[in-house]
């Protein structure tokens, strides 16, 4: 582009020669400084022909092309001839290119009618349901094959996952369930103090932890910790064509990837839930001793008057279901992930949300169910 030492602002001056409008351009045209716009320069004049003169332009960039292009467009719209021969050839051809680009780019209306939106949303939901059913169905077929001994499982992978989702989760599960025990003890004592029955804190925590909070806290921790990891891992594998590589070898990704992970969670979740029960009760015991002056022995004896194997069984049954839910949602979202970086992030988030939602729903169903059968 022509360079010139003089740096003056961009100017466009108009001059009428009868019905001919002459526009002279001068100075430095740069996108970074303010340049005249064609609309203001031309104003409401209605010439029968236009001539553009750019001899005085020292330095220019796209801003000049935009101006010239707009001029060409304006002339074309009015149907007046535009004499753009004076500007250098490169300038003129760029301006023509600009003018045809904005003419053809077209700002289309992408909005859709309500009917279309509803239809698309419905189809979307149906696709989701179909995906879910396919996944659960395939998982079911592969599990029955496994149980009947018709298909092998990679036990090494399964043990590996068990270590990752079980043993390695102990510190965080310890902390969370101990603190839940502490919180329950404080809130319980507020109410029970009114009746002078502080000792019943032991019963409250015992029942709440074994029947409810142990399983729930372990499940929610693992949903965030392990479910998200499953989704991200499988999602990344999908983007990397690793899942396709399994399929072309005739190895079912469900059996190879999902089965060991879901099984590992289904086995480790009850253990973690029972561990969480102990830590929660310990937390309650500590608070009772420190603030309510209840000796641990008295706490323990009082708790055993109400908590029995049934309560522990309720917690364990629930935690098995929660484990399967966390594992299946993580793997499902991973397999559904889009093949890009954002897709993996979305899959991980969605795995956690799906798992927690289903855990709460399942918990409610269990509550009704156990009430009905008197467990």
């Amino acid at each position: 582009m022509p360079a010139s030492p003089e740096m003056t602002g961009a100017r466009a001056t108009t001059r009428s020669e009868g019905s001919l409008l002459v526009v002279s351009l001068e100075g430095t045209w740069s996108l970074e400084s303010s340049t005249p716009r064609w609309g203001t320069v031309a104003g409401s004049s209605k010439p029968t022909s236009v001539r553009l003169v750019a001899d005085g332009v020292s330095v220019w960039d796209t801003s000049l092309i935009v101006f010239l292009g707009e001029a060409l467009r304006w002339c074309a719209a009015l149907g007046v001839p535009c004499d753009a021969s004076p500007p250098p050839l490169t300038m003129r051809s760029l301006a023509t290119q600009f003018e045809s680009a904005i003419r053809t780019c077209g700002h289309e209306d992408h909005s859709r009618s309500l009917t279309v939106e509803v239809g698309l949303a419905t189809r979307n939901v149906m696709d989701h349901v179909k995906n879910l059913l396919n996944f659960v169905g395939e998982f079911w077929i592969d599990s029955t094959r496994l149980i009947r001994g018709r298909a092998g499982l990679r036990w090494g992978d399964c043990l590996n996952e068990m270590q990752r989702c079980g043993a390695m989760a102990l510190p965080i599960v310890s902390l969370i369930s101990f603190l839940v025990g502490v919180t329950l003890a404080y809130s319980g004592s507020i109410v029970l103090k009114r009746f002078g029955g502080e000792i019943w804190v032991a019963d409250l925590i015992g029942v709440a932890m074994t029947r409810e909070m142990g399983a729930l806290m372990a499940a929610i921790t693992l949903a965030g910790r392990t479910g998200a990891a499953f989704a991200a891992e499988i999602g990344t594998m999908k983007g990397n064509e690793e899942i396709d590589a399994l399929s072309t070898l005739g190895i079912s990704p469900i059996r190879f990837l999902v089965m060991p992970r879901v099984l590992a969670l289904g086995l480790m979740m009850p253990l973690l839930a029972m561990y969480a029960n102990c830590l929660g009760i310990l937390g309650g015991m500590a608070v009772s001793y420190a603030t309510l002056d209840i000796p641990p022995a008295a706490y323990w004896v009082e708790m055993l008057t109400i908590v029995d194997m049934q309560d522990i069984l309720v917690g364990v049954i629930k935690s098995v279901a929660f484990g399967l839910i966390v594992g299946l949602s993580g793997c499902l979202r991973g397999l559904q992930a889009d093949r890009n970086a954002a897709g993996v992030g979305k899959a991980a988030t969605s795995a956690v949300v799906t798992a927690i939602l289903l855990i709460i729903v399942a918990d409610a169903v269990f509550a009704v169910l156990f009430h009905a059968i008197g467990l």
């Binding site: 990397n240 064509e241 690793e242 396709d244 590589a245 070898l249 005739g250 190895i251």
Partner: protein
């Protein structure tokens, strides 16, 4: 290579559409045994989609794919699995399982489909890696080796079960010219040694003229085949200017 031999792969009137858009329509061709067959075409012409249909990663909307005269598209789960065992595929990025070492990657198909003892599997994986020039890299993870090496390791995995057909998705994509040429030589060597049928998706003109026995060229607007035959003949004889332009882009004249 006899013309009368039963085709190794036969594609009959295959059509494929993704959501609303038709990508392939009415594609028919056959691949002879022990042939190096190229599927070529510009970007977005559907050649990778066609490959995914051939190996069963996508299901054709119409038509079918036959291997050795048996329908793959309409096969039940068990015979489909049997057929999958007879072919290997090299993905564009290698698609090695990143959590496994190279030897574990190659051992996996063997563990799945054979009852070989562990030490024998170890020997076979070492042999397969040596075949692709990666001896001594058994314990490396895919992330520790270069892109070209990953592709070769992917090829070793594709060859693990001594497949009768090997599919290649853009083997030279992302490789320097020397590495790409070495991979081409490896492909020819595999065909000559084992009589393997080779199907390659590519747009690398050097590869096409270098090693292809026959090519089909796909076109985006036709959603199907616009040329078929030996690369040198196609480049000269085709009445379609698109074909000639594609194949002579770099001035590589048929000879």
């Amino acid at each position: 290579m006899t013309i009368e031999a039963k085709p190794a792969i036969e594609v009959k009137d295959l059509a494929f559409s993704y959501e609303e858009s038709v990508i392939l329509d009415g594609v028919s061709f056959s691949v002879r045994p022990a042939e190096i067959f190229f599927i070529i075409g510009g970007s977005g012409c559907g050649k990778t989609t066609l490959l995914r249909n051939l190996v069963g990663l996508e299901r054709p909307t119409r038509g079918e794919v036959l291997f050795d005269g048996k329908s793959f598209t309409h096969a039940d789960a068990n015979s489909r699995k049997e057929m999958l065992k007879t072919f290997g595929m090299l993905f564009q990025s290698g698609a090695l399982w990143t959590s496994l070492t190279l030897s574990q990657n190659i051992a996996l198909p063997l563990e799945e489909y054979t009852r070989l003892p562990a030490d024998e599997i170890r020997n076979i994986t070492a042999f397969k890696l040596a075949q692709v020039g990666l001896a001594g890299f058994e314990e490396h993870y895919p992330s520790e080796i270069s892109g070209g090496m990953r592709k070769r390791a992917g090829l070793a995995r594709a060859l693990a079960l001594d497949p009768r057909i090997v599919f290649f998705d853009e083997p030279s994509a992302g490789l320097d010219p020397v590495t790409a040429r070495n991979l081409d030589e490896l492909i020819v060597q595999i065909r000559d040694t084992f009589g393997t049928t080779i199907v390659v998706v590519s747009h690398d003109v050097d590869s096409i003229f270098g090693i292809a026995d026959r090519v089909i060229m796909l076109d985006r607007s036709k959603k199907g085949i616009i040329a078929e035959g030996k690369p040198s003949e196609v480049a000269v004889d085709s009445a379609n200017p698109k074909v000639v332009e594609f194949l002579t882009r770099r001035g590589v004249k048929a000879g």
